[in-house]
């Protein structure tokens, strides 16, 4: 794996640019640990100052230094995306492997649930969920909820791989040598599926960040945790755009677009590397 990654960085331009973009974003988010201001305090610097040497990204109408604020926001946003991705990967893996391996009734039942999640309009459900949880709607809870909604697409993919693995010889050998289903799935099948999981992770992070931004901008989240969406939310609250505080909109949007494109390039190039035949990048989880 390490070697593959090194080769990818060295010879695949898409992968390399994806890594560079994400490295920039990650480095920026790490800056948040050195921020001189707590993220939620306002009016700590003069408001509405355009980008300058003192304030490289300007200051917001709430008197916050956008540079430092944005570093918090992108850190939280990335963490959010990764959390959703990790939880939903686990779900997708378990359900995909079990369904693909066992087949039959269990498979059909799991895939029906799976198809429901693919078909169901998520946005209304998430908005309703916000209304149920209200102020208990923390970042972590939203992540959990999104993970519960975001596994279906990839579970299907994993299932199809698992199905093809089931007919392979080593599975038979495993069964004859008395391995349990869990052992077969974990020891024999998992290694084949992991590369796919890895590339779908990037797409899933993209998807969840996208939804988080959308929900936050529309005001359906906890505004105490600065994320990219919450930042844009506040900018909209101050009609930053028409008030000429363009930097308040421009930098968060630019940064999140960089993140999206970076993750996307990684996903595409890794996917081509792992399996040139698979199709990628459909909208949705």
């Amino acid at each position: 794996m390490g070697r593959t990654l090194r080769d990818l960085v060295r010879f695949n331009r898409q992968f390399a640019s994806g890594v560079i973009l994400l490295a920039v974003v990650a480095a920026f988010s790490c800056l948040s640990f050195f921020s001189p201001y707590p993220p939620n305090d306002s009016f700590v610097v003069p408001p509405d100052v355009p980008p300058s040497w003192a304030y490289p990204m300007g200051t917001t109408s709430r008197g916050q230094d956008l540079f430092w604020l944005l570093s918090f926001a992108i850190r939280n946003t990335l963490l959010f995306g990764i959390t959703v991705a990790v939880i939903s990967r686990v779900l997708a893996l378990v359900i995909g492997l079990v369904a693909g391996y066992s087949g039959g009734l269990l498979d059909r039942a799991l895939m029906s649930i799976n198809d429901t999640f693919i078909v169901i309009p998520l946005f209304p459900i998430l908005v309703l969920f916000y209304f149920v949880m209200r102020e208990h709607m923390s970042w972590g809870l939203l992540a959990l909820m999104m993970a519960c909604l975001g596994w279906a697409y990839d579970a299907r993919l994993i299932r199809s791989v698992a199905m093809s693995l089931r007919t392979r010889e080593f599975t038979e050998t495993g069964i004859f040598s008395g391995m349990s289903t869990r052992q077969i799935l974990v020891e024999e099948h998992l290694p084949y599926v992991l590369p796919i999981v890895f590339s779908t992770t990037m797409n899933n992070i993209n998807w969840s960040i996208g939804l988080e931004v959308t929900l936050s901008v529309l005001g359906f989240t906890d505004i105490n945790t600065p994320t990219i969406g919450v930042l844009i939310y506040w900018a909209n609250q101050h009609t930053a755009l028409v008030a000429g505080i363009w930097w308040w909109i421009f930098f968060p949007v630019a940064l999140v677009v960089i993140t999206f494109i970076g993750l996307f390039l990684l996903a595409v190039s890794m996917n081509e590397h792992i399996d040139p035949r698979s199709r990628l990048g459909r909208t949705g989880p």
Partner: protein, 629 residues
């Protein structure tokens, strides 16, 4: 390549369509004769429903209640066209008998419905009787609670017999934002169930009638009645605009853009920044005040409303401590960028209220003292208004008034001076303790407050809330802001909050009587914890002294000077008890564009009414608007 050619062709065709669309925002009507107004209700779900007597079924401030409806009296939140009180459908003020169990109303003659039928006492009787008979209409409940009988001795007199004495019964028919509107008998008696009748097209009593509307609820266009002289506002001359369009212009950014393009004559409200942008970029746009702070102060009083049934806030010391931790200047800056009109007392600093309450009580406030147990302090700082003006002057320049009088009018007078030391002492007396940087409650748990705000619905209040939590946090209280977008009304009624930014005080604006909100503060209406609380005592505060004041007001006439005395007693009581922390008036950035129309109300030249266009009182505006020459 052929592909490119076809793309180019498509683009060309597209730009042709765009070209054809670019001229004007409104089709088939002369822009010069049309006033375009924002309806803050947004998109109306059920656009074709004009039966305003059913609850919550269609739009209200779509022009329907401003231009189409009428009732006995209007009280103006400002000075009024001809005094604060206007006899609209009534020809005189309400006539009560001695014990307030009967109210007689004399009706104006020569008023006609838009379909040519004359308005008479029969319509009034029909309206009242329908509400008595039918449950679930908008005013069924107050009518059923109060009215025993109604009769019409002649076609221009109605007599209400009340179930019990009520000196404020006329308030039901006195417009402050809205009131109980009169129904056309000749239409509704043929319509069957009054709850299921859409009333489309509406037959109106106001000077306008419906021209057209969007089935998707984005716009409603009204047109001046040719017989406008047969309506109650004919006394003030012919309304200027031939057409009035109430539209949903979208979020604040879009409203600003629309007015910059002169496609929206009156913006209901924008963010302070949007207001500043319009003031800077458009010569023709202006607010209620000529310059800063622009906004119209509505007779409502945003405050930190505690849930006083919550153990934490049962203690007056805690409430006062929290008030002494607020730096109102910072809150004013954070919420309104300084364009707020602050008030230390429980009456909105708008309309005639300063003359009745703020000015006379100023010296009492300055002398007011609290004893923290360790020290005695005089918390009131009378110069805060001036301090805000001074703070703004460097960046805003001459826009900031210099005369004390104007400063008081624009920014308010004094407020509580931040006093962490006194707050510390008060909290300690209440059993709280500070360990390290953090405060702990008497039971040893960290002192945490969740302050609820409404979010996008009221962005300015959301900002004020996050500033206040920041100040509390800096003192060592674990305070956070909670956005209750959409669920605010519910949670407020259910008492499902610790503290919130909202208002439980609303006044007539132009009249010193406080019964409009105060009556509902009587402890008889305070709901048990967990049960829904009726408006407007959201803080669920019960106080025997207050009950006494309210009971006395009930027995006093509307215009009786004794009422004012009782009102001041209420103010002093709430200053001592601090059941809510009054902050400022709700300033609405109503922006008016002079490109097509002039004669809008304004603070200095023409304070004849409130410009905020969802108020039914804005019907008086139409008569003053003139096309720009």
């Amino acid at each position: 390549m052929r592909l490119w050619r076809s793309i180019a062709a498509l683009l060309l065709m597209g730009s042709g369509i765009v070209e054809a669309q670019a001229q004007g925002t409104i089709s088939n009507l002369p822009r010069k004769e049309t006033l375009i107004v924002e309806n803050p209700e947004g998109t109306i779900k059920n656009a074709g429903w004009f039966n305003i007597w059913s609850i919550n079924a269609g739009g209200q401030s779509t022009g329907l209640h401003q231009l189409g409806m009428d009732t006995f009296w209007y009280i103006d939140p400002q000075k009024g066209v001809d005094g604060v009180w206007d006899n609209s459908l009534a020809s005189d003020k309400p006539i009560y008998n001695a014990d307030f169990t009967e109210m007689t109303v004399k009706l104006r003659k020569g008023i006609f419905w838009s379909d040519g039928v004359e308005f008479t006492a029969d319509d009034v009787v029909y309206t009242i009787q329908t509400h008595m008979k039918t449950n679930g209409m908008r005013w069924s409940a107050p009518v059923q609670v109060n009215v025993a009988d109604i009769s019409a001795p002649d076609s221009s007199t109605v007599v209400f017999k009340l179930k019990k004495p009520n000196s404020r019964f006329h308030a039901l028919f006195t417009v402050r934002w809205n009131a109980m509107w009169m129904m056309p008998k000749h239409i509704f008696e043929k319509a069957g169930d009054p709850l299921k009748f859409a009333f489309d097209p509406p037959v109106t009593l106001g000077p306008y009638t419906l021209n057209s509307y969007d089935p998707d609820g984005k716009w409603f266009i009204w047109q001046k009645r040719p017989d406008w002289q047969r309506t109650s506002v004919a006394r003030f001359g012919e309304p200027g605009p031939k057409y009035v369009a109430y539209i949903d212009p979208g979020p604040p950014d879009k409203r600003v853009i629309a007015q910059l393009n002169h496609d929206l004559d009156i913006i209901h409200d924008v963010s302070p920044e949007g207001m500043f942008t319009l003031a800077k970029q458009s010569k023709s746009s202006h607010g209620w005040f000529k310059g800063f702070p622009y906004a119209h102060p509505d007779p409502t009083l945003p405050a930190v409303v505690f849930n006083d049934q919550n153990d934490t806030f049962k203690s007056r010391d805690v409430r006062w401590a929290l008030a002494l931790l607020i730096d109102i200047k910072a809150v004013s800056m954070a919420s309104y960028r300084g364009a707020a009109t602050i008030s230390a007392i429980g009456v909105p600093p708008t309309g005639s209220a300063p003359d009745y309450y703020h000015v006379p009580l100023e010296s009492w406030l300055q002398a007011f003292e609290i004893d923290t147990g360790k020290s005695k302090i005089k918390p009131y700082d009378p110069t805060v208004g001036k301090q805000i003006a001074d703070m703004l002057r460097p960046s805003m320049g001459d826009q900031i008034p210099t005369s004390a009088d104007e400063i008081n009018k624009s920014f308010g007078r004094g407020w509580w001076k931040p006093n962490p030391k006194a707050a510390h002492e008060l909290l300690e007396r209440a059993g709280y303790s500070k360990k390290g940087d953090k405060w702990f409650m008497p039971d040893g748990k960290p002192f945490a407050i969740k302050l609820m705000v409404e979010g996008e619905g009221r962005p300015v209040m959301t900002r004020a809330g996050s500033m206040i939590t920041q100040q509390w946090r800096q003192f060592g209280i674990d305070a956070t802001t909670v956005v209750a977008q959409g669920s605010m009304a519910d949670r407020r009624a259910a008492g499902d909050f610790e503290a919130m930014i909202t208002w439980s005080v609303e006044t007539w604006g132009g009249h010193p009587d406080l019964s409009f909100f105060l009556d509902s503060w009587h402890s008889q209406f305070v709901a048990a914890p967990g049960k829904p609380q009726p408006p407007r005592n959201w803080q669920r505060w019960a106080n025997p002294e207050l009950d006494k004041i309210i009971e006395q007001i009930r027995q006093t006439g509307f215009d009786d000077p004794k009422g004012l005395e009782l009102g001041r007693e209420y103010v002093k009581l709430t200053v001592r008890e601090m059941p809510t922390i009054p902050l400022m008036s709700y300033n609405v950035f109503t922006v008016m564009d002079d490109t097509y129309w002039t004669g809008y109300p304004s603070a200095d030249k023409a304070p004849y009414t409130d410009p905020v266009p969802n108020w039914a009182n804005t019907k008086y505006m139409m008569g003053r608007l003139k096309p720009r020459p």
